[in-house]
């Protein structure tokens, strides 16, 4: 795959606040007390659902085909922990406390979605016992996401494949991904980040076949105003907020 990284210094990094610090995974009280969810496991059900939601957001529509590969603890306990229905619930875009969560596989089947679960025997490619690798496909596109469920419903996104791009990530959410054919997108994003004091922990730029992908690891959730401004870029870019 023809993928390369444009150096951080040459790009946006100059315009926004970059800082050296420990990335704190659990940023909010509600990462620890919460989520409100359907049982039985926060890491294997709520966290798995969250990885499914990432896949849903990347595909931006319902899939025709779903392949889920499990590693380590996920491979051993996905049946007992309800991981299967949780991931599919996420792929369908359900919330953790949606009463349809336990019936998600039936719901997906009734919509003609083809689903396969694979238990991998080897170590996790992401180096974590709770690893799921989700592939989704429909007529418009195919995507892949490797997510880890780190506990209490919190996840990290370690690897994403979308629109021919392949990127590895530190993985803490929120993550903003923007894909466009227009190079000036970076300036637009920089302006929005500056206006709304969006703190960036890390960023990556990729270029492939005349398209640009920008990925930003954000320190905190975006304000409604920043969200709105990003939505206004829809005509020139595909903006995904994980």
């Amino acid at each position: 795959m023809n993928v390369y990284t444009i150096g951080r210094k040459g790009g946006l990094a100059m315009n926004v606040v970059m800082k050296e610090k420990k990335v704190v995974n659990y940023k909010s009280c509600f990462d620890v007390i919460g989520p409100v969810m359907i049982g039985p496991s926060s890491s294997h059900t709520a966290g798995a659902l969250a990885i499914g939601v990432v896949a849903n957001k990347l595909l931006q529509g319902l899939p025709k085909k779903v392949v889920v590969k499990y590693y380590e603890s996920f491979a051993e306990t996905h049946k007992g922990h309800g991981t299967d229905f949780a991931i599919i619930a996420g792929v369908l875009g359900f919330a953790t406390d949606d009463s349809r969560v336990p019936n998600s596989i039936k719901i997906a089947n009734s919509q003609g979605i083809d689903i396969a679960f694979v238990e991998e025997a080897g170590d996790s490619p992401a180096g974590h016992p709770n690893t799921a690798d989700i592939y989704l496909e429909n007529d418009q596109r195919s995507i892949r996401v490797v997510g880890i469920s780190v506990g209490g419903g919190l996840i990290k996104v370690k690897h994403i494949e979308i629109d021919g791009f392949s990127l590895k990530l530190e993985g803490s959410l929120p993550i903003l991904i923007a894909i466009s054919e227009k190079l000036n997108l970076e300036l637009e994003l920089g302006r929005i980040f500056k206006t709304y004091n969006v703190e960036i922990n890390d960023s990556q730029n990729l270029k492939k076949d005349g398209k640009y992908l920008y990925a930003y690891n954000l320190e905190s959730k975006l304000s409604n105003e920043a969200h709105q401004e990003l939505n206004n870029l829809k005509d020139i870019a595909n903006i995904i907020i994980l």
């Binding site: 704190v24 995974n25 659990y26 940023k27 909010s28 009280c29 509600f30 990462d31 620890v32 007390i33 919460g34 989520p35 409100v36 969810m37 359907i38 049982g39 039985p40 496991s41 926060s42 890491s43 294997h44 059900t45 709520a46 380590e72 603890s73 051993e76 306990t77 996905h78 049946k79 007992g80 922990h81 309800g82 406390d97 336990p102 974590h128 016992p129 709770n130 469920s149 780190v150 506990g151 209490g152 419903g153 919190l154 905190s220 959730k221 975006l222 304000s223 409604n224």
Partner: protein, 266 residues
Amino acid sequence: MEVTKASYEEIWQKMEKNLETMENAVNKSIEGDGVFSPTGLTGGDAVKIKKYREAGKTLSGDLMMLGVQNAVGTNEVNAAMGVICATPTAGASGTIPGVLFAIKDTLKLTRKDQIHFLFTTALFGMVVANNACIAGAMGGCQAEVGSASAMAAAAAVEAAGGTPEQSAHAFSTALQNLLGLVCDPVAGLVEIPCVKRNAVGTANALVAADLALADVKNLIDADEVIEAMYRVGRRMPRELRETGLGGVAATPTGIAIRNKIFGKDK
């Protein structure tokens, strides 16, 4: 507020929703004959404990057994795929409500006090989660029920009017007492031994809180116990970290249950 871009009221209301979820789960667990999981392995015990309490002959006292009842009840609802609040995890979701609803009448805690209690548990929990771990797959049950128990103990001391220092002693005592606890779910379900582990998580928290309120000190401080918990967790073999391959899951009965539910090959 800085992180979530939410107002003070929104944050307060969100925690109140968490509290309501806990209350609903506890209430649901004692409706009729109780709730039962799809496998039938767990359920109905909260009702039994309630009846036992009502007879007035508990050995460890009514407050303690009320806590145990609420802890067991919450995890029965979790195993039955009901709605619960992860505290910090779903597998450990009974421990903190167990403590809170046991002490709220004795300490005359208002609704505001109860929400405050949950914020206190959350802040202690953030220290654990960001410096060690709260996932059984990473650190065993000590990271889940152990963390929940320590968080609840610290908040209980505060609710009872103890000092912040006493909260820290309660926290380190509770976590230290559950150090080394493995995660060994039978058939990979969140039922055996998880439901009863929450009963012990609640009881352990109440004991640790009482010790601290009696001004009994814990010489190993909270940060060091958290670090110790993390190191113990990292040295646990994967069989004992939420794979269902060790501990009680690997006993003849544990294996027989697994085979009965999922068939022999899995």
